[in-house]
């Protein structure tokens, strides 16, 4: 029972923090240069990681799909299918995992260190709002950077899939690329983008919240980092299911029938 109460406490605290961030974002002026600095640093920090992960994920998906499609004799669809799976599902999920491991942990460690060395209190003492100065630029930075990273990662995954399709399954580049537009439609891309955005919001909120509310010295910072990465992973998987569910319902309403 106590465990349940703790979970609800964490969840409520995170949501309230998101609400505070949103009100600060709407009501107060955010310095634009801060936001651009954050976007740039996030992209620079995770670009190689995302590119490498994207490449290998595309390769893995192609190998697995090639094994399965071979049994149906539909190897021509390989490019379309593995790209579609990557765009709709695996790509956003993997990029969110990488982002939470790299940027989420880093942000919460940075903010936690600021909190325990009383730099955040110092900012408040100087008469400015720490939320406006530190938290909101980071939040926006992570969310916007995630879309760029998603784009890079997906391009890399198509590239990896192409190469492995040629080596492993004998589907040449033209054949691989020709079937991508027949299977991947704009709705899928929109779906993937929405997913990526919601994961980025989760990562940004949890990492800033955990960092901002760190207590208890250097050990507290370590604890905040570990609990950030675990909590973001769980919430990302939950959000994944939730967005699929909501997306399905929205699509049904838009089409007017159940596919």
């Amino acid at each position: 029972m106590k465990f349940l109460a703790e979970i609800f406490g964490e969840l409520g605290g995170t949501l309230l923090f998101l609400k505070t961030i949103m009100t600060t974002l709407v009501n107060k002026k955010i310095r634009r240069s801060d936001v651009f600095t954050q976007i740039w640093s996030v992209i620079i920090a995770s670009f190689p990681t995302t590119a490498m992960a994207g490449f290998f994920v595309g390769a893995i998906m192609t190998v697995q799909f090639a094994l399965l499609m071979n049994e149906f004799g539909a190897l021509g669809y390989l490019g379309g299918l593995s790209t579609s799976a990557t765009v709709r599902e695996i790509g956003p999920l993997l990029i969110a995992f990488m982002l939470s491991g790299k940027v989420g942990a880093f942000t919460s460690a940075e903010l936690g260190t600021m909190r325990v060395t009383e730099q955040i209190d110092a900012i408040r003492c100087l008469g400015s709002d720490p939320l406006q100065e530190i938290i909101v630029p980071r939040f926006i930075g992570i969310v916007i950077a995630s879309f760029f990273l998603l784009g890079f990662g997906l391009i890399m995954s198509i590239f990896g899939g192409m190469i492995l399709g040629d080596i492993f399954a004998g589907v040449n580049f033209q054949e691989y690329l020709r079937h991508i537009p027949t299977v991947v439609n704009p709705v899928s891309i929109l779906f993937g983008t929405v997913k990526c955005g919601s994961f980025a919001v989760v990562t940004a909120t949890v990492s800033t919240y955990k960092g901002f509310t760190t207590t208890g010295g250097a050990k507290g910072v370590g604890k905040a980092v570990v609990s950030t990465s675990v909590m973001t992973m769980i919430l990302i998987v939950l959000m994944d299911w939730f967005t699929s569910f909501i997306g399905d319902i929205v699509l049904q309403i838009a089409r007017g029938y159940r596919s």
């Binding site: 990681t49 490498m52 992960a53 290998f56 994920v57 390769a59 893995i60 190998v63 697995q64 090639a66 094994l67 399965l68 049994e71 149906f72 539909a74 669809y77 379309g80 299918l81 579609s84 799976a85 709709r88 599902e89 993997l94 995992f97 990488m98 939470s100 491991g101 790299k102 942990a105 880093f106 460690a109 940075e110 260190t113 492993f168 299977v183 250097a218 050990k219 910072v221 370590g222 980092v225 570990v226 990465s229 675990v230 992973m233 769980i234 998987v237 939950l238 994944d240 299911w241 699929s244 399905d248 596919s259």
Partner: protein
């Protein structure tokens, strides 16, 4: 890092064998992560089966093969890799923070002075426990993945339990679960090696521990994906 791996691997066969530490670490790896992994893996399976049904309808206009298709995907890829990525962030971060703070408070130098080999004392039990724990968790994750897939396909897609099982029979072989376990063991070996490498090379100060933790999670995740690719490629020639 490779030299650390070789030393750890040789240390496995070298006495003294520390049973107590091994079981403590096994408890940390397996028991405390069990609930989280079961939860996450079930949701991942639900999403997979819904998505694969969508794709099947798109390409071959019916989804009668979905259970087999999804079961193969779950057994070969999903359960093992989701488990490993979750463990990388949980166990990897924990180990790196622990060993890193031991390094900066000079406890590792103290161990060396007492004539205890830090690799034998710290790394080997964690290495073995992580391999064993990840292997067991992969099997459990497979079971829960399939259970939740069965449940969802019954509720949303209208497959009965028997249809699911019979469709599974045509695609899934017994060796799939063995390969899944091998994958789990390899992923389990990656995590503590990366974590203890960054822990041992941790820079002074609280910031150093933070950096070690972050680097561990990132590098372990990438390492797991790369190892997964290599293993998938190898196994695909054996099926």
């Amino acid at each position: 890092m490779i030299s650390l791996f070789t030393e750890t691997f040789l240390g496995v066969f070298r006495p003294p064998f520390r049973k107590k530490e091994f079981f403590q670490q096994l408890h940390f790896v397996a028991n405390t992560s069990l609930a989280i992994i079961v939860f996450c893996v079930s949701f991942a399976a639900i999403v997979t089966i819904l998505e694969s049904s969508f794709h099947m309808k798109l390409v071959i206009q019916n989804d009668s093969m979905v259970p087999g298709f999804a079961a193969v995907l779950i057994l070969r890829e999903l359960a093992a890799i989701v488990t490993a990525l979750l463990l990388a962030s949980r166990i990897g971060a924990g180990y790196a923070a622990e060993i890193g703070s031991m390094q900066i408070t000079e406890q590792i130098d103290a161990l060396k002075m007492l004539g205890i080999d830090p690799i034998n004392y710290l790394v080997v039990p964690r290495f073995l426990a992580s391999i064993a724990g990840t292997m067991m968790l992969t099997v459990i994750a497979n079971v829960f993945c399939l259970l939740s897939a069965i449940l969802v396909s019954q509720l949303y897609l209208g497959f009965t339990f028997g249809m699911f099982i019979s469709s599974m029979h045509r695609f899934v072989h017994f060796q799939d679960i063995i390969f899944s376990m091998i994958k789990g063991a390899c992923f389990g070996a990656v995590i503590p090696i990366v974590a203890s490498y960054f822990g041992f090379n941790c820079k002074q100060g609280a910031e150093g521990v933070g950096h070690a933790t972050t680097n561990t999670v990132v590098l372990a995740s990438i390492g797991i994906i790369v190892v997964d690719f290599i293993l998938s490629y190898t196994f695909s020639h054996i099926y």
